[in-house]
Symmetry: C2
Subunit: 365 residues, 2 copies
Amino acid sequence: MNHNHYCIIMAGGIGSRFWPMSRQSRPKQFIDILGIGKTFLQMTFERYAQIVPAENILIVTAERYRDLVKEQLPSMPDENILLEPYKRNTAPCVAYATYKLYKKNPKATVIVAPADHLILGDAQFNDTMRAALKAAEQSDRLYTIGIEPTRPETNYGYIQINKAFSEKVGTHSSFQVKTFTEKPNAELAKVFLETGEFFWNSGMFIWKLQSIKDELERCLPEVTTLFHGGEDFYYTNGEAAFIRRVYEDCPAISIDYGVMEKTQKAWVFLSDFGWTDLGTWESVYEQVPKDDAANVVSAEVRMVDEVEGSVVLETNPGKLVVARGFEKMMVVDMPDVLLVCRRDDKTIKDIVTDLTVKDKIDRYL
Amino acid sequence: MNHNHYCIIMAGGIGSRFWPMSRQSRPKQFIDILGIGKTFLQMTFERYAQIVPAENILIVTAERYRDLVKEQLPSMPDENILLEPYKRNTAPCVAYATYKLYKKNPKATVIVAPADHLILGDAQFNDTMRAALKAAEQSDRLYTIGIEPTRPETNYGYIQINKAFSEKVGTHSSFQVKTFTEKPNAELAKVFLETGEFFWNSGMFIWKLQSIKDELERCLPEVTTLFHGGEDFYYTNGEAAFIRRVYEDCPAISIDYGVMEKTQKAWVFLSDFGWTDLGTWESVYEQVPKDDAANVVSAEVRMVDEVEGSVVLETNPGKLVVARGFEKMMVVDMPDVLLVCRRDDKTIKDIVTDLTVKDKIDRYL
């Protein structure tokens, strides 16, 4: 493996779509939502440890999740765990990791990836990422990974390619980005699929550290000026205090909106490995193995009868679940919260908002 | 109140129809299933304390429920709590209470009543029971209370009256019993209702102690011979050991089958106070107050949306229940068991049987 290759895993999200299983105190990336014995963070780490040296993997997360990272990745050195004191979206997260790593290795080429996606097809994925690292090293382009769509999905953002500017890297095609689009409606998603010009935006990036540093400074000077002078503090006892000052003043802005949609250097690297951001319970339901009645039942002790197409997740060890006579429901039982709803309920995020804003009850978040 | 009037409350059942809320360790009579702040046992005690002196109320229960009785009825003297070492159905229960009380007061007239029924209309009930006590005192009849049926109910047993032998006691009618019948099917229940000769069998009895003693000895000598010689032990330290010997050899037989269906002295005292044995979740649902969406939701903290005609009982203090998008369901959440089923599920008893017989898991019973 190339010692100039790095991976920055963004693990600071507090996603509420998997509430009550994911909580602010233990969000999705730190839980084993698929019941496979590994959390998303652990799976993501292991995935990138096949592509870059393990000691070159950095985790950016919120201060409050430090112990969860240490617990789930005990071999991770402290200096590789970057702690954000405030939530400022992804641009400051990328900037922090970029400036810090730049002090150590300005020749680095990095993958930036979310901690909570599901990838199926390891070999294909590894092959794609290695090719993308190689392509990024040989240019100053900012690559994103575009996934060939298999259905008119309305839950993903799309990337439109510019067919006029393309490059082959081995068997892989890459194109200049024409536009990034928001989640389309069903009609538009169908058009996207038919044109062949639109790819799912996976939210994974590959670039030289120098390339992203230059573009951050060009596109987001209001963020990058805050980081100036930081090279005296990174990898020292003063780092946390410096970062606290920076983040306090830092605007919250995404790397997509702040850089990718503005830069002329956005390219997309195409692939068709199995990918999902598992953004809804429905998408988890689709991915996990189901029993003969199309159920996903995680209860240790259970009596399930005349139940179909349902998800039953029991997180209290040894608790008996008796489920009878329903279909397409979701039952999630935690020590302090019980959720019973339709499997395709799209408003779970709103429950969390209601709890926060209307009821002002924060102990269940 | 007449100091020769007594009440024997039968509180030894381990009914499984309200599982998981009722358990073998705390059956229905010891829980507040209606959420009114009192258990069935407490309600039953208070009801009869209006009719007989409180110190004349006896509770017959299983040894393992002694502490529950003491906790729920702290003023009850120990000698009034009759503990059964084994489950032997109601005939031995009645025999034990009869022989014990006979030592103290052979002139007693007693009401024998289950601990777990719901009575609505206190005044009417009290009036009926007082009249029945009076009637029993003046004869050697074994009275049962028959409830005027309001619908062709298939969950109750019926009593057919013999119109040729009747007696008025104040405003109350009583008749000789022609037959006791099992739970009828829907068609038969309709016929029962139309004839006007059939009444619901409430399972409450009124008789002189001497009358039931005589009939027990006539109908069930295999039970009563075991109790001979007991008068040396009742109200002494030797009572428990004596009763243990008796119960060990005692056949399990119900007072209905063992005495009432055999005796020539069975009479029925008619009434139409509100009565239900609350034998199913559905009957509880019918009795308790419901919200605008016809739901019964007992969770302390809850977010209920687009839920109709459902029962949601959360017994874990402070646990948040989020219920959305279902109807006519039942959700019962206990620390160790979660039940989600149709509200009219008639097979909950079978779950308990399955757990016992098939799965041999006794920790959830």
